[in-house]
């Protein structure tokens, strides 16, 4: 934790609409460089919308979003991603008509050391090498999740946003994914949305609880694990 010295991402009073619906009413988050920050909360609280807002897929209505000190609120998604953000969506959203190789190739940005990053991906997820030339539609749920994460890892990003990676996976695969994300967080800053308690607490350093479109509580891992009332009050665990 020695390398946690400055903030890579700051959200101040962020509000977002989806169509006519006001979803985020005031989200305040700070992600420290080199950390794994987790957004916790019940379904429908606005965690996914928060990640979509940061990535530019849903521009905010109000508030500021500072990425490495620069306000990115309202910028188009591709500009935000190009400025060093990797996004792993909730439903994986792999391009099923493309091979694994093609999925990674089109995700690689200009100036990226593709071969070096590919080696890293293969090391972390050997299945990606095994099925490299195959259409990604043949992948199982767990492998599709690995490809989705690999697409973010193929670039050297400042920040990786991962939305509920455990969703729909068997417990054994979740444990495998926890190991991989723990390896990833050694060299990357991660902002994770997660409902799976085991994954959230195994990976996260800092926690925010998002409820009814607002960040209502923040704490460190130690504080979260030490205080059962937090779990009962906000998460119903």
């Amino acid at each position: 934790m020695d390398n946690i010295t400055e903030n890579i991402l700051e959200l101040h009073d962020v509000e977002t609409f989806i169509g006519q619906y006001h979803i985020l009413f005031g989200v305040n988050i700070t992600v420290r460089k080199g950390s794994a920050t987790v957004l916790l909360g019940r379904n429908g609280g606005g965690k996914t919308t928060t990640l979509e807002t940061i990535s530019g897929l849903r521009p905010p209505f109000a508030g500021t979003i500072l990425l490495d000190g620069k306000d990115i609120a309202g910028l188009p998604a591709y500009e935000i991603i190009q400025s060093g953000v990797g996004y792993v969506p909730e439903d994986r959203d792999i391009f099923s008509d493309l091979t694994i190789e093609e999925n990674l190739l089109i995700s690689s940005r200009k100036g990226n050391d593709y071969d070096k990053r590919l080696e890293l991906v293969f090391e972390l997820f050997p299945d990606m090498k095994k099925y490299f030339k195959k259409k990604s539609r043949i992948l199982s749920g767990g492998q599709a999740q690995m490809l989705s994460i690999s697409r973010a890892l193929i670039n050297d990003n400042k920040l990786i946003l991962i939305d509920e990676p455990s969703k729909g996976l068997a417990p054994i695969l979740i444990r495998e994914l926890i190991d991989r994300i723990n390896i990833i967080k050694k060299d990357n800053t991660v902002l994770l949305v997660e409902q799976n308690w085991e994954m959230a607490t195994s990976v996260g350093d800092y926690f925010y609880i998002v409820q009814d479109g607002m960040t209502v509580f923040e704490c460190t891992k130690e504080e979260l694990l030490a205080d059962d009332t937090i779990k009962q009050k906000y998460l119903g665990v």
């Binding site: 991603i81 190009q82 391009f95 008509d97 190739l105 089109i106 697409r151």
Partner: protein, 288 residues
Amino acid sequence: MSILIQIIIYGLSLGMLYFLLSSGFSLIFGLMGVLNFAHGSMFMWGCYLGYILSLSTGSFLFGIIGAAVCIGVMGLVMEKWLIQPLRGNQLRQILLTFGLIYVLEELAKVIFGTRAYMQFPPEWLSGSAHIFSETVPQYRLFMIFAGVIVFLLMTLLLKKTKLGMIIRAGTDKPRMVQAIGINVARIFSITFALGCALAGLGGAIATPFLGAYPTIDMEQVFNAIAVVIIGGVGSFTGAFYASVILGFISYITSYFVPELSMASTLLAMLVVVMIRPNGLFGGKTSEN
């Protein structure tokens, strides 16, 4: 034997004409979800421009390539200034492209009048060829050749280049393409221009066969829609095979029962939709 060869050559050449017409329509609809009713107008303007450029330069090849480039640029302007501002509103886009049919047709009437322009094939394509003792017009063979070449080049583009991969990815999940850092608006513009260029190329190649006249747009846009429905939305390969199938059906029907020529296309569409609602090569529905 002679009827069989005739059916193969004439059916295939008609199919390739449908392919040149509809491939761009399919590409645009598959990626952008834009049902461009003005695609037939691009084809019509391709007919006129191909005719004028061939006549003024004396080069048929320059005429068809020039028409493709001009219509591509026309498509780029149309996408930038008209289609893009309405992105996300499919109904308005449909109304807009429908309105453009009339604008572009009336503009053609003002410039070229209402008469039909007939263009003779260039000398090197105006003779006949002999296939198994059957005499077939060389221009029909050229149409088949042009269709196959365009299919191969486009397949190469879609399968082997990064742009092609992005277009395929965007056809599947356009929102996610943005989330990997790609400027989707630029890809849409390129694809729209490319699709229009293909219509222009098709029009220019069709002119020595069909002629250039104002109502050709409405006649042909129906065939483009039929190809996309039969082949499957977003499937370039599907558009190719559907065009070949429609070409054969149209020719065989017009040869044996001419009065059912139009009905046969509709019937083919109906049968495919009943058996495979997503078309012969259509996959699962995309985000579009």
